[in-house]
Symmetry: C2
Subunit: 201 residues, 2 copies
DNA sequence: GTCTATATGTTGATAGAC
DNA sequence: GTCTATCAACATATAGAC
């Protein structure tokens, strides 16, 4: 997005968009109002252009969702592709994956936020949720292996543990703000500390 | 809701609703499609009546949301009113509140699910989120006290701990199903076990 | 790259009959 | 307690001018 004015100062008078700036603004509004509740009119208002101008850059509202979800899922899938995610022992790989997944959430916050709030009511949403489930399953297998190694507790079902781990990690989108006092690295440290050690002294 | 037929058998031929059955059906559809994305037409279709019939029982779509949120928040606020939530030491009260909050989630699952997915875009939603925040703050104070007592770790900020605890508890609405293999009591046990002890052996 | 104008359908809600 | 019929507002998306 470029901002221009008569003498090219910081005065915001007119905006010109490309697909990237449309996407960025759209995802922000999607997250504030919910994807379904966001009308193209509201989106246009927030971008400072008309509805028609949006359709010059993207063919539909759903295409914007598709682009956003791809960024979120691409980030998560990238975690599993890292060499550190495939080097034993399992508990070390689990530690890495929890940290890396948390980093993806903080780095790509608006895109992952959108992903985590999907319902699965359209084909596109169902496909995205299936990719997310595949990622979750891979982590569940790590938990299983770590249990088999005796590295983590086995008195709680591996699926239950996986769900609670993601409960903590995914909650990041509900309270982390990139401009806040807490750094992204500290968030990952806290999550791993509480996940592995618990809160009891 | 009553189901009647010519000879009063189990054959479903015609449904008659009251406000309670409207609410129950509405919350189910709200959770499946999202509150905003649920039209009165879709709601009517799911209830087996027309839009107009719904308006005989409730004045608006938002009123249904209000009823639902009150049940969720009433349950959570009831947790803090319990004598066990006000008896020292802090770490015992925290244990109780985590269990009791989890029970509220499983007992009133559809209502709390709706609450946890709010955005805060209307006055009603903002009021509900404020009540939720008040509950969260009370738990954060318990965490603070337990840290002061030396009962739980102090190397992680009390607000961070509170957020992660709620991350685990609130994730329940994303995976717990009352008809499933896992009992509600087991869910609370697992959450408390992982929260206090962590997963590392 | 953005605009105005418009097509076509859906929305929440109401009036009044049975 | 439910229905049909209706409304004004708003939805996504397109056509064509600048």
């Amino acid at each position: 997005m470029s901002v221009t004015s008569a003498v090219d100062t910081a005065v915001k008078s007119r905006v010109t968009h490309d697909q990237e700036s449309i996407l960025l603004g759209a995802v922000e509004v999607f997250n504030r109002h919910g994807y379904d509740a966001t009308s193209m009119g509201l989106l246009a208002e927030n971008l400072g252009i008309t509805k028609s101008a949006i359709y010059h850059h993207v063919p539909s509202k759903e295409y914007l969702l598709e682009l956003a979800l791809d960024r979120a899922l691409g980030g998560l899938e990238g975690v599993l592709a890292d060499p550190l995610a495939t080097t034993s022992p399992a508990v070390s790989r689990l530690d890495f994956v929890l940290r890396a997944a948390t980093e993806v959430l903080t780095d790509r916050l608006p895109y992952v936020t959108l992903l985590l709030r999907l319902r699965g009511n359209t084909e596109l949403e169902r496909a995205a949720l299936e990719r997310r489930r595949t990622f979750n399953r891979a982590v569940a297998e790590l938990v299983d292996e770590a249990q088999a190694d005796g590295a983590i507790r086995s008195d709680v079902d591996s699926r239950a543990i996986t769900r609670l781990l993601f409960g903590m990690i995914n909650s990041v989108v509900d309270w982390y703000r990139p401009d806040g006092r807490v750094s992204a690295a500290k968030v990952a440290d806290d999550i791993v500390a509480v996940a592995f050690g618990g809160i009891r002294n």
